[in-house]
């Protein structure tokens, strides 16, 4: 077993926790929480791929020879802000669903749709 892969296995564990919360829980806010956990695990995967052992943060300084890769940082910075934007939209949709159906549980919403 390669100890250098421990980071990626933790990423997979977190990803699967988020995946389980999204597909197995009926509450809409729980699904959004699961999506957030999934997103954060993907960010961690990209950032840990960009790290160089012995390197520092990618800010130019005197006497530093090795820097970590700045490209994944740029991509993930964009992804974090887009993630919060989509979370805000998802939560706004949850509020409107609650006003229309009176509940945010998936089973109750389906049964209300079947009954009408």
């Amino acid at each position: 077993m390669n100890p250098g892969l421990y980071n990626y296995w933790i990423v997979i564990v977190l990803m699967m926790i988020g995946f389980y919360a999204t597909i197995a829980r009926g509450n809409l806010i729980k699904k959004i929480i699961g999506l957030n956990i999934f997103q954060t695990s993907v960010f961690y995967l990209y950032i840990s791929m960009g790290k160089v052992s012995g390197g520092t943060a990618p800010i130019v300084g005197d006497g530093i020879t090795s820097y970590s890769n700045p490209l994944p940082h740029v991509l993930i910075l964009t992804a974090i802000v887009v993630g919060v934007a989509t979370t805000a939209l998802g939560l706004a949709l949850v509020v409107r669903i609650n006003e229309a159906y009176g509940t945010i549980e998936e089973d109750d919403i389906f049964s209300q749709d079947q009954a009408s």
Binding site: Y6, F19, T40, V81, T87
Partner: protein, 182 residues
């Protein structure tokens, strides 16, 4: 030393994520998500990603928590379904996890300087950014200058999200007028 710190932080992150999914009280789950965001910001600092840690701490532990609590105030506080193990999603999750773990066998070792991701474009940015652009923070120079189009698209995405939330939740005045008519 940083390896030990990494391991401890990651273990805490897994425990907090499990708690956030398991708890039925949604307010407690949202607080667990705040803790999760702060812990992930700490792990980003350990991985030398200081800009990303700054953004994750401000956005995840700040704005995201506030919005979720705002949604809880407008909906319910507890999850209604009893917490029971559902078998089929668990099977799907375990099989997907096993396939992904099998896929990580080919990945380069963590921290390897000769990994493929450090090959083509990144050395050019690191070597030429002080000469061509001249600002110390290489992440800002890549974000605003080398990849300026992506940042323009991202700003447009944030703009669209703001417009979307305004369309969904901003029309309370019309709704009140409709209720008075009925």
């Amino acid at each position: 030393m940083t390896e030990l710190l990494n391991v401890v932080l990651l273990t805490f992150m897994v425990i907090v994520a499990l708690a956030a999914v398991w708890l039925r009280n949604l307010f407690a789950s949202v607080m667990m998500m705040g803790i999760f965001s702060v812990l992930s910001a700490c792990t980003f600092v350990v991985l030398d990603a200081v800009d990303v840690a700054f953004t994750e701490a401000a956005v995840g532990a700040g704005i995201s928590t506030v919005l979720m609590i705002g949604t809880l105030a407008l909906t319910t506080r507890d999850e209604k379904t009893p917490v029971r193990w559902s078998v089929l999603p668990l099977m799907v999750v375990l099989i997907t996890g096993a396939v992904l773990v099998y896929g990580t066998k080919d990945m380069p070792r963590y921290g390897d300087p000769s990994a493929p991701v450090h090959e083509h474009v990144a050395p050019r940015y690191i070597n030429d950014s002080p000469a061509e652009i001249g600002i110390p923070n290489m992440v800002t120079s890549v974000l605003a200058s080398y990849r300026g189009y992506d940042t323009l698209g991202e700003t447009t995405v944030i703009f669209t999200a703001g417009i979307g939330v305004l369309l969904l939740l901003g029309g309370y005045r019309n709704r009140k007028r409709q209720e008075d008519e009925f």
